[in-house]
Symmetry: C2
Subunit: 204 residues, 2 copies
């Protein structure tokens, strides 16, 4: 039987998304072969993840710092008339890296695997409404004229978009969706910059 | 851009065997969603990995405790006339779990991907000879009559077996290899107990 520390770490890694017992074991033996300093650094950054990384009060993007708002929501150069709704942090990152959008974001939470009631309740729908209606309550002096639904072009993503669109209509704002360019069935996170660009331009 | 802690963790996970940037990112966001206590525990076990886990002075199996020898090498009930040479810790674990062998082990080190000079030098061949010739120098009062080469039945494993067999012959001991039962091209670590059992019985 493996010593306790190894067993515990295999157990922890086995719970990682897509990782089974065998791969978890490989991870532990890989780590066992690394330098002590590297493991200590790893261990430190893990602790920092819960101690230093916060979620933006407005958009829920993870960030580090003293303030309550992330660097995007704090930036006076951003266009405060547009808000782009994404499923998860990686999607926001993909759009930011493509440098094609200058408004604000909102991370809905996810990934969600189905559109059951339980799964939908995991999404920050109530929070989204509060922020669009009264952004100043969350430290952002926005006046949103356009809401961009940038969810994944998957069955679930489309369903959530329809659901949100219905609810958001009451607010009387322009609602757009990422259009041309995104291959159907794909994942926003994996789209290249050109595809993202034409999707942004082709929004309707 | 992700905050520093997230970037650093993505970088660390990207170096894990078989893990790319995207999977590494998923791991970090998975962790970000876990409870603080769970992350602290993970961080603690990681530190323990380098602080508590030692390698047995004789066989190089990882273990925890005050002694210099692992629980197998310390066990007076083990058969000190047989030594089984395995590539890596997981292989030793698979044989132990099958409860089919009562002798001692030696972890050669690995996995190695080719039989180049550089790769062969990573293996503990010198250490193996020292332990077979004078086990008492390493705290084990063994008198080995049989050396079992339990390497993976892969091209590399077979090549290492031939290489070791040639070198070990000079010691005048009986040298056996795991025989019948192991599917050619497979990995010892994944063999079920029955397969391992017939491989042990069919050794020649």
């Amino acid at each position: 039987m493996y010593p306790k520390t190894i067993r515990k770490l295999i157990e922890i890694f086995s719970k990682f998304p897509g990782i089974g017992q065998k791969t978890a074991t490989r991870f532990v033996f890989y780590l066992l072969k690394q330098k002590k300093e590297d493991i200590e650094e790893f261990s430190k950054f893990l602790k920092d993840l819960k101690e230093k990384v916060k979620f933006c009060k407005f958009c829920f993007k993870p960030f580090e710092g003293e303030k309550q708002l992330c660097e995007i929501c704090q930036n006076p150069a951003r266009d405060l008339t547009k808000i782009c709704i994404v499923e998860k942090e990686q999607d926001l990152e993909a759009i930011e890296n493509a440098q094609i959008f200058n408004g604000l974001y909102f991370v809905l939470g996810g990934p969600i695997s189905s559109i059951s009631k339980e799964e939908l309740e995991k999404l920050r729908v109530k929070e989204l409404f509060e922020r669009i209606k009264s952004p100043e309550k969350f430290g952002v002096f926005g006046n949103f004229k356009e809401i961009i639904l940038a969810l994944n072009p998957t069955v679930t993503g489309e369903a959530i978009s329809i659901y949100l669109e219905k609810k958001l209509k009451k607010l009387g704002k322009k609602i757009t969706r990422l259009g041309k360019g995104l291959p159907s069935g794909g994942e926003l996170e994996y789209a290249d910059e050109e595809t993202l660009k034409s999707a942004f331009e082709g929004r309707k």
